[in-house]
């Protein structure tokens, strides 16, 4: 069995092989691999006995189910109004300058991807961002550098 087959098998064992299992399976792959490759999606289709188009169609609907390669850490900066009003642009610039990437891009060492996201639900502590599942709030350019330096050195 290939690595991909094994990964999908472990997820289908856990979540089942019905259409309802599709979303938890896709989420499981993204949690492990950061994104959904064509190979993974084809394998899921095979194991759930549905068409690959259905898997692809479902995956591309959800913004957290990426179908392009992503870094180990996906940074999502909130761009909705309150965060925007409270310095989102400066935060984005600080990250762009540090990691030398723009929104939508991944660092060459595949460690970080920078993305923008819609309201993350932290407006009272704006500006906010997620690094994978972890929220960081009340950001300042200095604070963001500190957080990312920690990720660069220790994770």
């Amino acid at each position: 069995m290939t690595e991909v087959q094994e990964l999908v098998r472990s997820l289908t064992d856990r979540h089942g092989r019905t259409r309802e299992s599709l979303l938890p399976i896709l989420q499981g792959v993204v949690a492990k691999e950061s994104y959904l490759s064509d190979t993974v999606m084809t394998e899921i289709a095979k194991q759930l006995d549905i068409s690959a188009a259905q898997v692809f169609g479902t995956a591309t609907f959800y913004s957290f189910l990426d179908t392009e390669p992503r870094g180990k850490y996906v940074i999502r900066i909130c761009k909705t109004i309150t965060c925007d009003m409270h310095g989102k642009r400066q935060i984005a610039k600080a990250i762009e300058d540090l990691l030398k990437i723009k929104a939508g891009e991944t660092t060459t060492n595949k460690k970080f991807t920078l993305l923008e996201a819609n309201c993350l639900g932290w407006c009272h502590e704006a500006p906010a961002m997620l690094i994978n599942d972890t929220p960081y709030t009340k950001l300042t350019p200095e604070k963001v550098l500190e957080i990312l330096t920690d990720y660069m050195q220790n994770k």
């Binding site: 019905t18 938890p24 959800y62 913004s63 109004i81 009003m85 309201c119 639900g121 929220p135």
Partner: protein, 388 residues
């Protein structure tokens, strides 16, 4: 008749410590109809924003003959400016689960699902601890009801109930045609009650203290209290539970920074209230309804930027299934950009207002239908800012 104006009053029902297990023990011993009557009597309406009477939703589902029914907690809190459900799930998760179990008991459901937005995945471990002991407790007490968590993956539209069912069924989160309504055919096409997080907590509170405590708060149309998420230009951003039905003026007195020019009530899909209308506008179902999102803007802010941000949001979050919403969101966004740049005359705003009106009539679900709320209220009240 002149109804005296509501003063701003803080309330402490949602976050107050409540003996949930004790409340459940009493509720399960009572006659189901009696408990349902309590919810009906309280006047509780859905706290997600739409405001459907909760008791009726439960009653309609209870009346369905199906053997298989579901209770779903909608924790897909995606409306810009709302963050109270996250706080509720963090601080009083048992009260949410309690509300689900009471509902399950009344309608005759054996399974409940908490649909949590992907942005809140960090909460799962915390919720699991409570969930496991809660499910164990139910089993020990011979109650055939189990709650599971399902995750969203970053799609605003999945807060729309039928889109949420589609998502839970492993599909694209595209809203269904209504009717049939969820009370008849919801999750897995079975009768389903779907309630907002806050609504379920109030159900627990009402079971604990009775309908009258709740009913005596608020106004005739907006009974009880409401949790507000306050953000924007305010020195005291945060979460506040307030007596329902105050005017925007009272609200601004308490939460404004002294220079508030507009309040966006109900998030991107809600209404913009300009300063001149603060006095006459009631926050509630009789005035401007809200799921709790309250954003304050002071005179340093450009309302063009606010509207642009909202339209950019809708343009991205429209599921693309129906044409009025898919194309409409895009054209409203491009339209205000063109007016701002001078590529289109100011009269074009009237064309855009007509488009927003068409979207309200022709869109399939609440997303497309409510884009016009913020569009119309911002464009009409801040026309100069759209042009210059």
């Amino acid at each position: 008749m002149n109804i005296p104006e509501k003063q701003l009053k803080r309330v402490d029902l949602i976050f107050a410590e409540t003996e949930v297990y004790e409340t459940l023990e009493i509720a399960f011993k009572r006659d189901k109809q009696e408990v349902l009557n309590e919810i009906l009597e309280s006047g509780l309406r859905g706290r997600g924003g739409a405001g459907f009477p909760t008791g009726l939703k439960w009653k309609f589902t209870a009346e369905q003959p199906s053997e298989e029914k579901y209770v779903i907690c909608n924790a897909d809190e995606g409306e810009p400016g709302t963050f109270k459900d996250r706080e509720i799930l963090t601080r009083v998760p048992l009260k949410v689960l309690g509300g689900m179990a009471i509902c399950g008991h009344i309608i005759g459901a054996k399974e409940g699902y908490l649909y949590l937005r992907g942005e809140y995945r960090y909460l799962v471990a915390h919720l699991d601890t409570y969930l496991n002991s809660f499910n164990d407790w139910l089993k020990k007490h011979g109650i055939d009801f189990t709650i599971y968590i399902r995750m969203g993956s970053g799609a605003y539209i999945c807060g729309e109930e039928s889109a949420l069912f589609e998502s839970m069924e492993g599909k694209r989160g595209e809203p269904r045609n209504k009717p049939p309504y969820p009370t008849v055919a919801g999750f897995r096409n079975k009768p389903t009650v779907i309630n907002n997080v806050e609504t379920l907590v109030y159900a627990t509170v009402i079971c604990k203290y009775g309908a009258s405590l709740f009913k005596n708060l608020g106004t005739f149309d907006s009974r009880g209290s409401k949790v507000f998420s306050v953000s924007g230009d305010t020195p005291v951003a945060g979460i506040y539970e307030l007596d329902f039905g105050m005017t925007v003026e009272r609200f601004v007195e308490e939460f404004g920074d002294g220079d508030t020019k507009a309040v966006q009530v109900g998030g991107a899909s809600g209404f913009c209230v300009p300063r001149k209308k603060f006095k006459e506008t009631i926050i509630g179902f009789e005035g401007v309804p809200t799921g709790g999102s309250m954003k304050l803007f002071n005179s340093s802010r450009s309302m063009y930027n606010v509207l642009h941000n909202y339209l950019d949001f809708f343009h991205e979050e429209s599921c693309g299934q129906c044409t009025p919403c898919r194309i409409g969101c895009q054209q409203l966004l491009h339209g205000i950009e063109a007016v701002k740049k001078g590529e289109k005359s100011t009269a074009y705003l009237i064309t855009l207002l007509k488009l927003a009106e068409t979207m309200k009539i022709a869109s399939k679900c609440g997303l497309g239908q409510s884009v016009g709320n913020s569009f119309k209220s911002i464009v009409e009240n801040f026309k100069e800012e759209m042009i210059y």
